[in-house]
């Protein structure tokens, strides 16, 4: 089985997200980087499928040269190799991102054969565009379901489960297929020492990303207005309990 997982390098902000003075990017000074939890789960899903069925799993990202860090991390938890579609400046719009990823997957497949599965996150952590995976899947002619909370492959069919208002829906996608993964589908493993060492040697190919610009333009990022609040201190330690319960009575939640 051949699997491709698409992940995006994003900053990992703490208490708040700061924006650069020009408003065009998140201020990443002093921040570490990661990928979306959804994408971490997509990586874990791919590694488990390869463990169960054999084959290989490629992790692919479009981003700056530093995104090699996220590819190496994915390799440290079991991905076979990595592809970095490098973009010089800032973020690409979703249409352009999808075009570049589609072209890259096509060229890998022309050389090495089709991927049985292409996995994405349900949405990117920073952009939240809810579309890159769906655009890529359509361009490649693959069925696609987003938001998967369950994924099994049996007899050439991807059995996908996802949550809906009243319960769980199941889908049966004939391979080759594409699936957008949601956090909660599995519990991603942490890298082992052996995994970390192996990841240093994993093959990572860097190619320049190519794709025509789309029609959505970023003007400015800004923080939403915060509800200004002063915190009422109810007390220290267990002695505060009566005050807490007074408050619950006042708020009408103690019936």
């Amino acid at each position: 089985m051949r699997i491709c997982v698409c992940v995006k390098r994003v900053p990992a902000p703490g208490a708040r997200i700061n924006v650069t003075d020009d408003g065009l990017a998140v201020d990443t000074a002093h921040l570490g980087f990661t990928t979306s939890p959804h994408e971490e789960c997509a990586v874990e899903a791919a590694v488990r499928l390869v463990e169960a069925h054999g084959g290989s799993a490629t992790v692919l990202t479009l981003g700056p040269a530093e995104a090699e860090e996220q590819l190496r991390y994915a390799a440290s938890v079991g991905m076979t190799d990595g592809v970095l579609l490098s973009v010089p400046g800032g973020d690409w719009d979703p249409q352009r991102t999808a075009r570049a990823i589609t072209a890259a997957i096509r060229s890998i497949e022309a050389r090495d054969g089709a991927f049985d599965l292409v996995l994405f996150g349900n949405e990117s952590a920073d952009g939240c565009n809810y579309q890159v995976g769906i655009r890529v899947a359509h361009a490649l002619g693959r069925p696609m379901v987003n938001g998967a909370k369950g994924l099994e492959v049996r007899d050439g069919v991807a059995h996908v489960q996802r949550e809906a208002d009243g319960g769980r829906e199941t889908y049966e996608l004939p391979l080759p297929a594409a699936v957008g993964i949601r956090e909660g589908i599995n519990l991603p493993r942490y890298p082992t020492m052996k995994g970390r060492l192996a990841s240093k040697k994993a093959a990572v190919v860097v190619v320049a990303a190519e794709g025509d610009e789309g029609a959505q333009r970023l003007v400015r990022l800004r923080r939403p207005e915060e509800r200004s609040s002063t915190t009422v201190l109810l007390g220290q330690g267990p002695d505060a309990a009566p005050k807490v319960v007074d408050l619950l009575e006042e708020l009408g939640v103690l019936r």
């Binding site: 997200i17 769906i134 655009r135 938001g147 959505q216 970023l218 109810l234 220290q236 319960v245 619950l248």
Partner: protein, 327 residues
């Protein structure tokens, strides 16, 4: 030229989110002087015409096809794409739910048009109706993006729980017209094949009280006192990602950007630092009571109320006090 609303429903049962999309569409339609029309996919949704009319649709386009009896992202996306080709609306508005964004993205892919997800404000730009200036949410709502987009038909979703559904005082009758669609048999490959229904009960998203625990809880067993407090108050337990990552609780309990958005009357945040990705899932709570050893923790400074102390002592003391008063 119309503003076309994508009607989200499950086998004929309307999703409330659709009416939020109707409300958003009304503002845009008024700004460009266009009527609001709606698209219902599947014969099972025909009966929705009246409620759609009550919320402003002057016309409902009905797409019927045997493949549309149940939901399928590709089949629905293809129907929407064909509707756009046939009707050439100025804009399509959907609600930014899982299905809403998925169908819009499928249509955008087929039409090769931009799609702007999760808008909280939409204005036609001065260049005319084929361009918009929007504000949309990123980082799950922690950040706003002002953006522009231009296309012959603008594909927009509006952030869920942003626009308030309101019926018109004097709605038009709402005509219904069939929309002819042709669907390739291959699109059936992603139609829903089966379901398991959930047992009814209080869910994290709708609970009146949520007792949330974070890394400070320290272990899976450490949640027992939180569970007890939740039960005393008719609520449920929630948690942070640090907790799910440690395997202490199931992801179904996770509050935040990649978990569940909660809106209880009271949220107890115990041993949770208040990272922005957690906060964004908790901020719709009416009242937040933070219990934390660190008075500088973000959750403490942002919460309405706080107790400074060890949650392992504070939480059982609160339960004991509740039981004492009830006795």
């Amino acid at each position: 030229m119309s503003v076309l609303v994508l009607v989200e429903h499950d086998r004929g049962t309307l999703a409330d989110a659709t009416l939020e999309a109707m409300a958003a569409a009304r503002g845009l339609a008024a700004a460009i002087g266009a009527p609001i029309e709606a698209l219902t996919i599947s014969a099972g949704a025909d009966a929705l015409r009246d409620v759609l009319a009550a919320h402003g649709a002057v016309r409902v386009h009905r797409a019927h096809h045997a493949m549309l009896d149940d939901y399928g992202p590709e089949a629905w996306g293809e129907v929407l794409a064909q509707a756009v080709r046939t009707l050439a609306p100025a804009a399509v508005v959907a609600c930014g739910t899982g299905r809403g964004n998925e169908v819009l993205a499928q249509a955008a892919a087929r039409l090769d048009l931009p799609m702007v997800a999760n808008c909280v404000s939409v204005e036609p730009s001065r260049n005319g109706v084929t361009a918009v200036a929007v504000t949309r949410t990123r980082w799950g709502g922690s950040l706003l993006e002002d953006a522009t987009a231009a296309a012959p038909t603008m594909l927009l979703s509006v952030a869920h729980h942003t626009y308030e559904a309101t019926a018109l005082a004097a709605p038009a009758a709402g005509e219904a017209t069939p929309l002819a669609v042709e669907l390739d048999a291959s699109l059936a490959r992603s139609v829903v094949r089966g379901r398991t229904e959930r047992t009814a009960g209080v869910t994290l998203a709708t609970a009146p009280v949520v007792v949330g625990g974070g890394r400070g809880v320290g272990s899976a067993d450490g949640f027992a006192p939180l569970q007890e407090l939740a039960e005393l108050l008719g609520g449920v337990v929630g948690c942070s990602r640090a907790v799910t990552n440690n395997g202490w609780r199931n992801h179904a309990d996770q509050v935040g950007q990649t978990g569940t958005r909660i809106a209880p009357d009271v949220y107890f945040a115990c041993g949770i630092s208040g990272a922005i990705q957690h906060w964004v899932g908790a901020m719709a709570s009416k009242h937040i009571i933070a219990i934390n050893t660190d008075p500088q923790a973000n959750m403490v400074t942002k919460a309405g109320y706080a107790v400074i102390g060890d949650l392992h002592a504070v939480v059982p003391a609160i339960s004991a006090e509740i039981r004492r008063r009830r006795a």
